[in-house]
Symmetry: C2
Subunit: 194 residues, 2 copies
DNA sequence: CCATTTTTGAACCAATTGTTCCATAATCAT
DNA sequence: ATGATTATGGAACAATTGGTTCAAAAATGG
């Protein structure tokens, strides 16, 4: 079996805490002290378990993205068709007033914060956004096959519009728009997309 | 006349340099060293002329917003009507591949970075975004009077949709979308808005 | 020459940054 | 129990953070 002193923390739980912290403060503005407090482990444990700040951030980003995509796939599967999935997705994004919703999306936030850097975190952030867009590409194609979306439309740009819309919606919620206003905004999006 | 040694730097030029720096790195990730280098000032000159980092950032934010709004107002005035202004605005935003365009908008970036903080910089960032939306509100009403936009639509949510769209477009450009793709995205926006 | 103001550069501050290292602790295998 | 192995706690690290203060030099107007 395993040799040596056993872990006294749950790496997954610690990672979740790290995600929350990066989510709230962004990459640069999150200090190691913040992470240590949130993850509830000692300095050396963190470095031994996760390497360093950058490596931890990359892990957090990938974990967040995987979970997000898994969640989307699940919801798509549960939807009667692709169009209603899109509708539901936007509507619920505009409806949730949770504290998490007001944080925006970690992926979009990171892509915005890290901008055009050529660092690994920046590349990973952009790449993660691209992966979400790729998922939407698939959804758009399905909706086109059923006829909910004009088949003549380029699915790639439509997918980008959807990513774009999710990003904008998050900013809107962050700016403190009301549910009602957000719902109306969803109306504009759906009208543009159909 | 003025007594004493005259200023050896142009405060406006220095402020522009500061804006560029905050634009590129964000508020927190910009250090005083970065600012000193970019503004080509000595430490004490900066503190004497601008106070401190936060004050300088607030000044930069307000200056950027004022210039942005002045620019928008000018373009609106030069447009034959409100609708063509909106069209032009989105189209040109999707067309410019300049380095500045890839930085996004300082206002949106700051609002995203500072999130829900209750600090003065965060408040100012949100407030600046709101001012842009207020400008769009006026534009929408004009377009409704001429009939380019359905008069039954709520101008406030339409204005928010426009702000939202500009924000999303910036993220799209930052992610490296092609001109062609961005232009198609503009098509979705205009279709949703009309 | 004097008063006024800016500039320069250094020094300093306390706090924070991310990181490294070492002794100690806790487990398993022998 | 002993030794190997791994985790932990905490000190210590050097570098940088934003911010302040100081003294001396420089450049203007009166």
């Amino acid at each position: 079996m395993t040799i040596g002193r056993p872990l006294q923390h749950q790496p997954e739980a610690a990672l979740k805490a790290a995600i929350q912290t990066f989510w709230r403060y962004g990459y640069y503005h999150t200090s190691m002290r913040d992470l240590l407090d949130a993850m509830a482990l000692s300095r050396s444990s963190l470095y031994q378990a996760f390497g360093n700040k950058e490596a931890l951030f990359l892990l957090a980003l990938n974990n967040y993205r995987d979970e997000l995509l898994a969640n989307l796939a699940e919801k798509l599967k549960a939807s009667p068709n692709a169009w209603s999935f899109i509708d539901q997705l936007l509507t619920s994004a505009a409806d949730t007033q949770s504290e998490q919703a007001s944080l925006g999306c970690l992926l979009f936030n990171s892509a915005t914060e890290l901008g055009g850097e050529d660092s690994l975190p920046a590349q990973t952030a952009r790449d993660s956004v691209a992966k979400v867009t790729a998922f939407f590409y698939d959804v758009i194609e399905r909706a086109q096959r059923v006829g909910s979306i004009d088949a003549s439309r380029d699915p790639k740009s439509a997918a980008q519009f959807l990513t774009f819309s999710m990003s904008g919606l998050r900013l809107l919620m962050k700016s403190g728009a009301s549910k009602q206003e957000a719902q109306q905004t969803v109306g504009y999006i759906l009208r543009g997309l159909a």
